[in-house]
Amino acid sequence: MSTATAINNTPRVLCDVQDLVDDSGVVALHDGRQIALFYLPKGRDRQSGPEVFAIANHDPFSKANVIGRGIVGDKDGEPVVASPIYKQHFRLTDGVCLEDDRVRLDTFNVRIEGERVVID
């Protein structure tokens, strides 16, 4: 069941842009990894155009797979997501936890190609 995906027509495509949610997160499965995808339609400065960020969905503090369901925003201009369980903030650009910089979530290189979201 885990490999029967509808849109996996090339190995690099994660999902459609249509699957993303504005200013919020969704989760994609890629080679057994859970990847949280955050979509800022206007970009991190609210003017430079669409941007998508990808970091690990696993929350090391609660040990649950929930990062993709956190609230997206910024701290001092840096785009972040807040864990929905214990509210730690993780930087979207490099996965570093602002409350404890020894903790870092894996990040992934993703970009938008036409109607698709692809991963390198």
Binding site: D22, L37, L40, H58, R69, I71, V80
Partner: protein
Amino acid sequence: MQHLTTHEAAIQQDKKQLVIIGNGMVGHHCVEQLIERGATQHYQIHVFGDERHRAYDRVHLSEYFSGKDADALALGEADLHATHGVSLHLGVRITRIDRDRGEIITADGRLPYDSLIIATGSYPFVPPIPGPEVSEHPQARLVYRTLDDLDAIRYHAANARRGVVIGGGLLGLEAANALKSLGLEAHVVEFAPRLMPVQLDDQGGTALRERIEALGVGVHTDCATEAIVAKPDGEYAYRMNFQDGEHLDTDLVLFSAGIRPQDGLARDCGLEIGERGGIVIDETCRTSDPEIFAIGECALWNGQIFGLVAPGYTMARTVAGCLTDVCEPFSGADMSTKLKLLGVDVGSIGDAFATTEGAKSYRWIDEAGSGYRRLVVSSDGKKALGAILVGDNSYYDTLLQYVQNGIDLPEDPAALILPQSEGGALMLGADALPDTAMVCSCHNVTKGAVCRAVDEGCADIAALKIETKASTGCGGCAALLKQVFEHELESRGMEVDKSLCEHFQYTRQELYALVRVEEITSFDELLEKHGHGLGCDICKPTIGSILATCWNQPIMDPQNVALQDTNDTFMANMQKNGTYSVMPRVAGGEITPDKLVALGEVAKKYDLYTKITGGQRIDLFGAELHELPDIWEELINAGFETGHAYGKSLRTVKSCVGNTWCRYGVQDSVAMALELEHRYKGLRTPHKVKMGVSGCTRECAEAQGKDIGVIATEAGWNLYVCGNGGMRPRHAELFATDIDSATLIRTIDRFLMFYVRTADKLQRTSVWRESLEGGLDFLKEVVIDDSLGLGDELERQMHHIVETYECEWANALKDPEKLKRFRTFVNDNSSDPDIINVTERDQPRPARADEIESLAVEIR
């Protein structure tokens, strides 16, 4: 011996017996202090009060006629005595103290004491003026001291048009206020040439008189009453004849001509009594018998009776200290007072009459506006000695600090009493006060104590009040306390930044107003106009809630969805392993068997853990994200709707079965609970709101522990507000009595909308109430009396919410776009492989880390 009766049974042999005679404000404070200092370990404490009520606030007695009932005036927690094993005997009069045997005697028997505290207070002095027989004409000789006195006044006022108070002092003016609030034409008759002769000089008395006359109260000074004569056929029931030949007709006469110490028991048992009454005490508050203490208005210290509550409290602390750890000697008390009499500010500080040798005065007199201020300074002009204020007490705190702490006066002392528009009213900054400066004299809280509380983490005024008790006595120091508190925060670099977060330099309340006034309907629009950045997990949910309250758009609409906490986003409650619990509405806790079966079937089908909640609902745990729409489809088909358990909104209205089944019920509490729950469901509030409805005073629904509590009465409903369970329980306070259903709903409409409008983010009604500067009275004025003229607007806003209600789950299920988000993975239909359950007590629960490890071993 017949004396071994009821009281004897209560004696614990291993403890010393401590008896307190008197359960007034001072006696009660003494009990609180004894408990706080651990006296109950060594003493068994018995308190006797001859009134039938719990101890109550006599300082604010006149509020009994402006809405407060005996409960609202009561002091401290109702269960204080029971909790700490103190025996409270109400309505029991002590007839004699037997010092030889060390026993007190009541009508029921005797009780031995090792130590005895007399706190019997005082009684009103009624001068021997000839008049009609009291038994037949009680309304010609009323007094004003106890709740029973007030009930008598109310009774006799019912058929009266005019009432006269004999005595123009502090209590006399309070009494006149009481008559006025009962709708009578009130007059004050004072023997001295001016009002409040103890506190005010002639000019002060004149200013006060003018202000009070302007309120329609008749003032007669220099006026001695010779006789009161019944006039059975007259327009009024009595005629008062004055020494100067004048007269005044009236329907009732109220005496408030001073107090006399209640020293009869002490006198009878041979304790030393002052020449003009009062039980003589030393600096440890001991009487001439070292085992007997006397405190409050019955005690005479250094030839002085203290007729104010603060010195009584100080004596209570002295005694509590003597009986436990450290005895701090009583060394007299400051008689400075700040009052609002008939709405007029009056203040008197220290040596108000300049009796100190060489003292000089500055005076500011406003004949047009009837204002008066006097500052008394030392002969060298360097120190303030006293002051008098009439009309504006905003000068009081600063002047008091100058006098009490001997602070050097500024170059031009007159500036301290000049109007602010003339560059006057130099506020003494909180930093100028020494640590020993008294902030709250009722509870003996110094600036130093406030500083320590801040050091220990008190971060708001409400917490500070709980920690230090400051400003919970007469409340006169509220402004000063706030000033000191804010100064202390600032000096620690903890400046109280009221901004919501880094993206909005506004408070929640300000943002609410902006959204309303500018009719802003989306987060982006508000961010564009009044904020910056992307927002964050603080401002997004807060503004999401504000938008929902104001415009009631579905929270799943595209412009709102990214604002919500995960619980609101997925309309379920996230648990620690990332799964959700699902809780449909079971309004009032009433559920049909069919619905119970349906809930059970859904839980079984999706393998959910089920538990009954404290709010009379059933919670289904362990649903994964992608299962939520299917589960809700089935629940909605079975007739359920969303329960908003995930939202900062109305959760449940708990109810008992009421008079439909219960033999004690007096109203249909279930029907009322249903009406309330269906009316307010879906309203987004600053924090969650819980309600309860009980069908009788037995209060099975625990309504007094809710934000809104409704208790049925024979005549209608009593409404309680701002209660709270949880971490810091708070009893709800009585807000309105015996109101009909329509009034009840209108009142709750206004109350809730005012809360939504003025509360801070994530502030429960209980904390919000503590933070309101005018307290419960202010809230009543706004909600019940509509003092701000907001009533219609608040009701209109609530009607909008009620009329536009829609079940959020039903709305989401209709829209495939909204359902797209309910996928564990956007590119795969599988479940989260890391969610592993084990079975316990026949139900699933998340596996613990150690269980997951052993499972992994088995699989390998």
